[in-house]
């Protein structure tokens, strides 16, 4: 019996002499087999010690004889007569204690006239590398490093404490702020190839409010069936074109309140209100942002992989302090501008792999203030610092998913910029993912 059971171990020992075998791994395997043999020996001794008839009584749920295993399964399964092995390989076998690693590629192309905010004709826009893993019983960590063609940026890297009392959740690190619907999203989960004009003009576009800080959130008490979540965030206060921290006290804060409700099994509504405040990069005072967003989703569960519809809208107001100007009376005044912008969009999935979308954008911005992507025409100083320029755009989109792990998207975009220029562009995008990229929050 023992010799028979040791046979696999001996075979493994011989196998160890084969080239390219990891000696450590084999030793571990042998150790595991040795432990298993000891366990089986102990089990045999226990069974031998029992009087006849007690075995069946001790195992009232003994498995009935299983039918013959098909040829393919037999090739993968244990040899005849071997004890039934329960359990799969188990997640630990696949990754041991390494983090889940993923790469998402985002290739962008553009054709046509981009006017004064044109992007490259062809570009490997972003390669996002993700590392995600549980740290200990109290926290997990998520890192997303964004490689562009010419540089590297830590898009997000934060620790999430998952075991706090009172239903609290704390995140510490660098993260995209919970301002509105679009700002927290990574590029690869956007329903467009670009970000709406209001985000480009008022919230630092693709980079968004993405800063080092703390985020505390909690599910708040609400009437039955309503999900109400409050989030308070404190950041260093550095966001290009939005906030600027000249000293330690120039931290910025973001507050977000989210209300979600299932209207029916297939339909739900998601409403949000946001507020962000930080030191204005343009003058002595605050830059404050107010946001409201609404999302309506429809996805019939029985055909959820074939049909869905999502309508989104987001409105953002800014109250920005600019550099002091000398008035006609030669005194200094602090000008404040209050630009406003919004977008409305809809996406309909009409087949398992196909989506059709449309978006309307409108946004004001301060004359001569930066945008992301940058506006390349030189600004018109004669309009004065308080002047607001208005950009208006519209897009039609068609998206195709070859599989869950790749996506091809085309976007026809027409934009009338505040400088009086009109852009007509065809944007196209190829996205693909490798590895175990964890799903993002809904």
């Amino acid at each position: 019996m023992r010799i028979f059971m040791l046979a696999p171990a001996v075979a493994a020992l011989f196998a160890a002499q084969l080239p390219a075998q990891d000696i450590t791994e084999l030793l571990n395997r042998m150790k595991a087999m040795e432990d298993r043999i000891k366990a089986l020996e102990a089990e045999v001794q226990t069974l031998k010690a029992q009087p006849p008839g007690t075995v069946a009584a001790a195992a009232p749920v003994a498995a009935p004889a299983l039918p013959a295993i098909p040829v393919e399964a037999a090739a993968q399964g244990p040899p005849p007569g071997a004890p039934l092995t329960l359990g799969g390989a188990g997640p630990a076998a696949a990754k041991v204690l390494n983090p889940d690693i993923s790469v998402i590629g985002d290739f962008l192309g553009a054709a046509g006239n981009g006017a004064n905010r044109g992007t490259s004709s062809l570009e490997m826009h972003e390669s996002e590398v993700g590392f995600q893993e549980v740290i200990d019983p109290y926290a997990r960590a998520d890192f997303f490093i964004s490689f562009g063609e010419h540089g590297v940026d830590l898009e997000e890297g934060y620790l999430t404490f998952t075991a706090l009392p009172a239903g609290l959740q704390l995140k510490v690190g660098k993260m995209r702020a919970a301002f509105g619907r679009v700002n927290p999203l990574h590029n690869h989960v956007l329903p467009w190839t670009d970000r709406p004009l209001v985000n480009q003009d008022l919230v630092n576009g693709e980079d968004g409010i993405d800063d080092a800080g703390l985020s505390l959130s909690r599910i708040l008490p609400a009437p039955k069936g309503i999900f109400l979540e409050g989030t308070a965030q404190l950041f260093r206060g550095d966001t290009d074109g939005v906030f600027q921290a000249d000293k330690r006290s120039h931290v910025s804060t973001v507050e977000h309140l989210r209300l979600y409700r299932d209207l029916a099994e297939s339909t739900n509504i998601d409403l949000g209100g946001s507020f962000a405040r930080g030191n204005s990069p343009f003058g002595n005072g605050w830059n404050q942002l107010y946001g409201a967003d609404a999302t309506l989703r429809w996805k019939p569960l029985r055909r959820s992989i074939y049909h869905s519809f999502v309508a989104r809208s987001e409105l953002i107001w800014a109250r920005t302090v600019l550099a002091p100007v000398r008035t006609a009376a030669l005194s200094l005044s602090t000008p404040i501008i209050t630009p406003f912008g919004f977008y409305v969009s809809g996406d309909y999935q009409f087949a398992r792999r196909w989506f059709l979308g449309a978006r309307f954008d409108r946004s004001q911005r301060g004359n001569c203030l930066p945008t992301n992507p940058p506006t390349t025409t030189s600004c018109n100083l004669s309009l004065g610092p308080l002047a607001l320029l208005q950009d208006t755009g519209g897009s039609l989109l068609l998206t195709y998913w070859p599989s869950e792990f790749s996506q091809i998207r085309g976007q026809l975009r027409r934009t009338q910029y505040g400088e009086g220029l009109t852009a007509n562009e065809l944007l196209f995008q190829f996205q693909f993912s490798m590895g175990a990229h964890g799903a993002h929050p809904f």
């Binding site: 749920v61 299983l66 549980v134 075991a163 609290l168 599910i219 931290v251 989210r258 998601d270 029985r302």
Partner: protein, 307 residues
């Protein structure tokens, strides 16, 4: 500015407690309705069991809606299928639940795949060129009643661990379930016995455990690869295979489009059976026993018709 943040934080902290938990009953959340049904079998009135995915939706693609967080927040135990079936939706729900009891590795997290017989565990290189493969094995293992028994047994053990005072009741309920399942299994096997060895085509790889248990042979799939919708070329190959091998039955899950299976069935003079992979697949199938009753009744009637 710091004052502002701390004021917001204090506001969050001092909001009236929204979580009220029943002390006497275990609150069990499961990934699928099958697991919830088994939890009710073993837990009876001592547990409140609810599920996230519905039996008639594709369990690979579930929206991680915030409304699920309200349930997960109160759960004492989260029971999952595992083998990456829920990888696209469950992890963010667990993290966002703010419930330390059900985090991966905690006492209240139970991956049932660790206790069941798993088929189709890949042994060679696994790549996405093979489609949406499950590198840890096929996750549709609950469709073998023997695995249902194993799940129930582990649930009883877990419930007892979490509520030792009710251990005897859980053991009794499991023994009762085991007895009823053994009787039902005999009936199912007797009914399927005349059709052992029958060849079938299935839409997705949802049925290896079911087919192995009841002696059906899966010859081909409507999907060219897991997760890849049917293509004209592959559909033609399936038609040729079915004609060559005399196969007349295509098994389809309720959430897949029936156009391609119907076209194939029409070409080969066969039939499409919308078989349920889960409890709740249709309204009248409300528990684990009814799931097999429904599927086996349907199969037997179709096999008899095809005589």
């Amino acid at each position: 500015m710091l004052k502002r943040f701390f004021a917001s934080a204090v506001l969050l902290l001092t909001a009236a407690a929204g979580v009220t938990r029943a002390a006497s009953k275990l609150t069990v959340m499961t990934a699928t309705q099958d697991l919830a049904s088994l939890a009710r079998e073993v837990g009876g009135d001592l547990v409140n069991a609810d599920s996230i995915a519905m039996g008639y939706q594709d369990p690979h693609f579930v929206e991680p809606k915030p409304s699920f967080l309200l349930k997960l927040q109160k759960a004492d135990l989260l029971v999952v299928v595992g083998l990456q079936l829920e990888i696209g939706w469950l992890p963010p729900l667990i993290t966002q639940s703010r419930n330390a009891r059900i985090q991966v590795g905690a006492l209240g997290y139970l991956d049932m795949s660790q206790y069941c017989q798993i088929l189709e565990i890949p042994t060679g290189q696994v790549t996405r060129a093979m489609g949406d493969v499950h590198p840890l094995g096929n996750p549709h293992y609950w469709l073998d009643p023997e695995n249902g028994r194993r799940i129930a047994k582990e649930l009883a053990a877990k419930f007892s661990e979490m509520q030792p005072a009710n251990a005897a009741a859980f053991a009794q309920r499991f023994a009762d379930f085991d007895k009823r399942l053994s009787i039902a299994e005999k009936g199912w096997e007797v009914r399927m016995a005349p059709y052992r060895g029958r060849k079938v085509v299935t839409y997705h790889r949802s049925w290896p455990n079911f087919c192995e248990r009841f002696g059906l042979e899966v010859v081909d799939y409507v999907e060219p690869k897991p997760g890849i919708p049917p293509t004209p070329v592959h559909t033609l190959e399936v038609i040729n295979t079915m004609k060559r091998e005399g196969i007349k039955l295509i098994l389809v899950e309720p959430y897949f489009d029936l156009r391609a299976p119907n076209k194939i069935a029409q070409d080969v003079g066969g039939q499409v059976a919308v078989l349920l992979p889960s409890v709740g697949g249709v309204k009248q199938v409300t528990d684990y026993f009814q799931l097999f009753d429904y599927d086996i009744n349907l199969l037997v009637s179709l096999f008899e018709k095809a005589k």
